[in-house]
């Protein structure tokens, strides 16, 4: 069993390394902080850090937007007609 595992580990690390490097660079393109900084020497740890804070920011924005929506729903007399209007506007 242990020999099988060591055989696996000697065969796979190069594939896994390349995969991880590729995925990290893909993430780098998606995170606006790093993408706009235009530096090629961003470490993987920095990419992950920025990714975490970016996701946290997005969560917070969704939270804020839900809050505003809940307040707006309280003030308007929305009905499905308005939703249909929005749908047509956004979907066109």
């Amino acid at each position: 069993m242990s020999s099988r595992r060591s055989r696996q580990s000697s065969g796979s690390p190069s594939i896994k390394d390349d995969q991880i490097i590729e995925l990290v660079s893909k993430l780098r393109q998606l995170v606006p902080e790093i993408r706009d900084r235009r530096s090629d020497k961003v470490s993987a740890s920095k990419v992950l850090q920025e990714t975490c804070s970016y996701i946290r920011n997005l969560h917070r924005e969704v939270d804020d937007l839900s809050e505003r929506l809940s307040q707006l729903l309280a003030t308007i007399d929305a009905d499905s007609a308005e939703a249909a209007i929005i749908r047509s506007l956004i979907m066109q």
Binding site: S9, P13, A44, Q49, T51, L65, S66, R68, A74, S80
Partner: protein, 170 residues
């Protein structure tokens, strides 16, 4: 015409369109069931419902294609079934923790260069906690799911911002 400036998505089957439709439907349902007195508790409750609807319709739009959306849908279904009781999650989370430890040990044992490459498991752990279902994924899948999750979150924020703008018009 002004509506042209609001054009966001020409493809009716895109993620954005599916998400928008689902969210608007949920919003009209939430709105229909609202009670008349505008108490702050009612608003907070609606806030929770809307947030759940946003994540829920996002996960439904993605469907079962992604591990994170599956995990999110599973979590939401459990919440509605048990009324926010986390008992099932407690049981599975200990299992997930032991599995995560096994995965980390495997990764540590495999190649130390791999560990340095992703900058220590501290960052990866933080990422695991942020992405739904991240606790049981290996590092490669986690990074892939993170990329897709981030794109969907950005879409979610864009659509909700647009909805808020439209509702803001008196």
């Amino acid at each position: 015409m002004n509506s042209r400036s609001l054009l966001l998505s020409p493809n009716p089957n895109s993620l954005k369109s599916r998400f928008t439709k689902g969210l608007l439907r949920a919003l009209s349902i939430i709105n229909k069931h609202r009670q008349q007195p505008r108490s702050s508790r009612e608003i907070r409750r609606r806030h929770r419902l809307i947030k759940a609807a946003a994540y829920g319709s996002m996960a439904s739009s993605v469907g079962n294609r992604r591990a994170w959306s599956r995990a999110l849908l599973w979590k939401i279904r459990n919440q509605t079934r048990k009324g926010y009781a986390p008992t099932r999650n407690i049981g599975s989370s200990t299992r997930q923790l032991s599995m995560k430890k096994r995965i980390c040990d495997l990764q540590k044992g495999n190649n130390s260069k791999d560990r340095v490459e992703v900058g220590g498991l501290g960052q990866v752990d933080k990422l695991r906690r942020l992405v739904p279902g991240g606790q049981v994924m290996d590092t490669c899948s986690l990074l892939e799911e993170t990329a897709h999750y981030m794109k969907c979150l950005a879409t979610q924020v864009k659509v909700m911002t647009r909805i808020v703008e439209v509702y803001n018009i008196p």
